[in-house]
Symmetry: C2
Subunit: 215 residues, 2 copies
DNA sequence: GTCTATATTAGGATAGAC
DNA sequence: GTCTATCCTAATATAGAC
């Protein structure tokens, strides 16, 4: 993470906003320049095109999400922290949603991102499996053979495509909070069928937590 | 579904193949013309551009998938038919995968497809909920409040994005059969936690079924 | 670093002969 | 219906002055 010039910083910031709100396909490098009132030539001086900007934005995202994901590794999470953990992951993804809404075409267009993103998916899957293992060890969750692994994979898929699906279905269309909340709720609904011996009081906590977040 | 000229038919067929194998972003209308050895001008005589072709392809897909989805409505499915049902849906989607791999950008570029696709999602969700209700009535499945509805929604999301996720993760990369099989398997793994009183013998059947399909 | 002006290209689109 | 030839446009990219 090298220090950036003021202008570079502003370009990235402006680009991220435009891409998230208008979508990758709608935005050209000229648009980015226009919005921040600099010339296209100037923008090209700093970044040689839209894709270079996106690559740099992704690098930023990667460092942040890696930090977030490693939370339960660094120190085991307390019960309620698990829900919050899911929220934080979603918020991070939301801040970078243009990428998740155009995954296929972006990874095709900027091939060097593909292996990086694949590694991120692996990391996420591992993080989820670790989290589930913790709850299994404390007998809050119970799994049959393979169920834990496949659930962690499904959760990874869910987090990757929830925003795209939610926008399509019109879930939380006008309210990001709702969209994220529903995403967490749907994730949790995949976990609760595996509740084990110690999870009864958990249920109370969870209900409270979910109510809080809505209000 | 009006009758089409020989050439129109061939254009659609060629386009579908190219789009599925190379991806929407890679293929231009000129490519389609080139592959079938006709001139771009000629292609334009039949279809005014790539997006018109895609719209027509989607219309075809829509009629087919609607037919498939309505299966459990027309006549309630026998036990094993439920698995096969999921397979058939996936196969239909696979035949039109370019669309599912670039959903966001395609629906942005061809706005009239958006409401159509949204209706398709609703239909799929309803079909799944119906199927689950059947298995609930026969006490093969058991659900708590809301669980059935949210599961049907999750299954819809799963079917919509599985192919994209599988390609990213490299699941069944070289073998469509494997990719689809894993998709069905993952779908089923969301259902089995809800097994009810009558589903023990079901488990046997399912295991057999899954083994068959792999071999 | 920033500007204006211009070049390049790829893809979408049409005109008119056969 | 099909071809060849050409045009148009939007987006990328660079050159050279300030």
């Amino acid at each position: 993470m090298v220090a950036r010039s003021k202008t570079k910083e502003k370009i990235l910031h402006t680009a991220l906003g435009l891409l998230n709100n208008e979508g990758d396909t709608q935005i050209t490098s000229v648009d980015i320049a226009a919005v921040m009132s600099i010339s296209p030539g100037n923008l090209y001086y700093h970044y040689k095109g839209k894709d270079v900007i996106i690559a740099e934005l992704f690098a930023d995202f990667e460092t942040e999400i890696r930090q977030v994901l490693s939370a339960p590794v660094t120190k085991p999470l307390a019960l309620e922290d698990n829900w919050i953990y899911l929220y934080i992951i979603f918020e991070e993804i939301y801040d970078f949603r243009f990428f998740y809404l155009n995954l296929t075409s972006l990874l095709e267009r900027i091939p060097e991102l593909r292996p990086k993103f694949k590694r991120l998916l692996s990391l996420m899957q591992t993080a989820f499996e670790l989290l589930l293992s913790g709850l299994e060890a404390s007998e809050h969750l119970y799994f049959r053979t393979d169920e834990k692994h496949i659930l962690s994979e499904r959760l990874t898929q869910h987090f990757t495509y929830w925003l795209a699906y939610a926008s399509l279905r019109g879930i939380g269309a006008k309210n990001p909070k709702t969209m994220i909340h529903e995403g967490v709720y749907t994730a949790l609904s995949q976990i609760t069928p595996h509740w084990g011996a110690n999870s009864e009081p958990y249920a109370e906590l969870l209900r409270d937590f979910l109510d809080e977040q809505v209000g």
